[in-house]
């Protein structure tokens, strides 16, 4: 399979994902990792909770990867997004792309993470050091 998108309740196994992308047609591999950060918008963040409409997220995510395959000269693309409670520093999202050459790998990787953030039904709840929490519903 040349593309796969998954929502994961468990920690993301990066070496296994990277191995799944190995391909003799590829001379380049680019990846993006989104990590849980300790601050946002002036708040001190203690942890995050992600939730998803998993059925639709997986179909929309697969559509994004299929579009990436047709838009860019890439070989394979995979992405995994974590849901549930995440601590600071944990890996929330991983995108990996292989291509014959680096330009397409970098461009497609950037495009995929931007589309995931814009289109896939996943929501982030920030839990702050002061005990408050808030769902993020950014204005497009």
């Amino acid at each position: 399979m040349s593309q796969q998108f998954r929502i994961n309740e468990q920690a993301i196994d990066v070496p296994r994902l990277r191995d799944a992308l190995l391909d003799h047609r590829a001379g380049a591999f680019a990846s993006f990792e989104g990590w849980v950060r300790d601050h946002n918008d002036g708040h001190s963040v203690q942890r995050l909770r992600y939730e998803s409409y998993v059925e639709l997220a997986e179909s929309e995510g697969a559509r994004i990867l299929e579009e990436a395959i047709s838009r860019f000269a890439i070989v394979k693309a995979m992405a995994v997004h974590r849901i549930g409670d995440l601590e600071l520093g944990e890996l929330a999202v991983w995108v990996g792309v292989t291509a014959a050459h680096r330009d397409a790998a970098f461009l497609a990787c950037r495009w995929i993470i931007d589309e995931i953030k814009a289109r896939v039904p996943i929501w982030k709840q920030e839990r702050y050091v002061d005990g408050d929490s808030e769902w993020l519903h950014p204005v497009a």
Partner: protein, 79 residues
């Protein structure tokens, strides 16, 4: 007609539940959201949401059918 509705993120918190069955007059998804918004006092206006029918994105002006599973999708914030 009866439809099953799914709530996520802040909508779920405001509704105090993640899904429910609603008995609504025949109409569009927009009308179903309006009924749910009045019932639960949702703060997000429909213009900021997307809607899905049975696991696939749909348009607000499409007619809801009896038995549909309708999801109201607040602005997403993955990544």
């Amino acid at each position: 007609m009866r439809v099953r509705v799914l709530y996520f993120a802040s909508l779920r918190d405001e509704a105090g539940r993640e899904d429910e069955t609603l008995e609504v007059a025949s109409g569009s998804f927009a009308q179903v959201y309006e009924a749910a918004r009045v019932r639960h006092g949702f703060s997000l206006p429909r213009e900021r949401l997307r809607v899905a029918r049975n696991g696939a994105f749909a348009e607000w002006d499409e007619a809801a059918n009896d038995g549909d599973e309708i999801a109201f999708i607040p602005p997403v914030s993955g990544g």
